[in-house]
């Protein structure tokens, strides 16, 4: 029942997932992550341009997953949050390498590149971004 996916399904998303690439509508100014196909504000009058996000932002909400889906059992418990990027859009990602007491709404975080999961024993290994807590000067907490 795990989705044993093919390579193309993922490489279509590599740029977005590896480099935090989204887009911005030059007409209304809104940033989007992941990239929108159509600007929801301007529709056919919108002009979408590729943008690489800074990867800095703050925690908008978070949870700790204790009952994991198939394929993630060995990682549980893990923290998944919605991060509000400094440019505006919100993204979902794990929070890693951080003290649980530092994880709270409003806390600043910065992106890191990590393994997400393995697609079965002989399947693909998927990579993507996660986040870790930083302080107000964008420095890692220790």
């Amino acid at each position: 029942m795990v989705h044993r996916s093919s390579v193309p399904m993922h490489w279509r998303l590599y740029e977005s997932r590896y480099n935090l690439v989204g887009n911005k509508c030059l007409v209304c100014g809104e940033f989007f992550y992941p990239s929108k196909i159509v600007c929801p504000n301007c529709r056919r009058r919108g002009i979408l341009k590729r943008v690489v996000f800074s990867g800095k932002g703050k925690i908008y909400s978070y949870t700790i997953i204790r009952n994991a889906p198939r394929g993630f059992e060995k990682y549980a418990p893990y923290v998944v949050a919605i991060i509000e990027l400094d440019e505006g859009p919100r993204v979902m990602g794990w929070i890693v390498d951080s003290k649980i007491s530092d994880i709270k709404i409003g806390q600043r975080v910065s992106v890191v590149f990590r393994k997400i999961y393995e697609d079965g024993k002989e399947g693909l290994i998927h990579y993507g971004f996660k986040f870790r807590v930083i302080d107000e000067n964008n420095q890692l907490r220790d």
Binding site: S61, T63, N67, A68, P69, R70, Y117
Partner: protein, 388 residues
Amino acid sequence: MRNVAVVGIGETAFGEHWEKSLRALAVEAGIAAIRDANIEGADIEAMYIGNMSAGKFIGQEHLAALAVDQAGLVGIPSSRLEAACASGSLAFRQACLAVASGEYDIVIAAGAEKMTDLQTEDVTTTLMGAGDQEWEGWLGMTFPGLYALMARRHMYEYNTTREQMALFSVNGHKNAALNPKAQFPFEITVEDVLNSPLVADPLRLLDCSPVSDGAAAVIIASEDVAKRFENPIWLIGSGQATDNLALHDRKSLTSLRATKIAAKRAYEQAGIAPEKIDVAEVHDCFSINGLVALEDLGFCERGKSGKFVEDGNIERGAAVSINTSGGLKAKGHPVGATGISQIIEIVKQLRGECGKRQVPAEFGLTHNVGGTGATVVVNIFGKELKER
């Protein structure tokens, strides 16, 4: 546009039906509805069936044809509708529109889901098909996790407490104790909820609706035909709406935009305000979603649902009797069946057939959510036909 009414209802008990297949459950509910309406199978001109994920739960798509086949009604048009946990309400709504159009006079709208044929981790994976697979599911996110993000944010923005959320589950169980079809027909306490295992912080096991098997069906008739039945319950308002699929794309985590749009449409069509609703079945897949629904449906102010529940306003016979069936939490949540089952409870309340859990009711409402609110359907029912 012709008016439509519900003239027959039937459902299985909800729970772990190891001994029954999806097809058997669907037929059991359908036959019960046909008997309740006191019609013949041959009177039914079309079937609509809501089901979220039989393809993954039991490897079976094309459920609409299977259901008419097994019910011995082969020939009539049969359509499966899907919008995750709102699939049942989509089937009901399309059935109503088809009757309203004049194409049919009597149709059956059903919902069914068989969830216990899979192992737990696979159920969790399958349910995430209701969210965004590319940006939520692939991270190992779960449905309790998504609602936990909403809960955390609601607590942050409105000082909603853990106890207030727990009270929503407590109310459901109190009602379920009086419902012989319920999966959990017993009462629980706030302490039980707060001491149950964490699933996705801050949500605990007793905040979460269970994995269930079950089916439900209603018979829908056009105005002229319905008037020949003993106790038709009229659909007087209906709205369906969408929102962004992924939670992180939404402007707010503490309100479901699709509920607001669908409710506005339903209230306008019905010509009544939220205060007129006596009894409502709201989509408490997780306790937090029950609270949010109270706000979005206009039963209380935004951010005040915790207090509203705490003050006893959702109990039977109070300001608005919420989830007299037990709700998704305590009655059970076979996802595709839920929307139809909610309608059945409201029809029974308006008919006055709810026995010990009966409340005085002139107007009833159902609120069915798909995913984390990317699809919402709101229906309003009345005992009297509202002339259009």
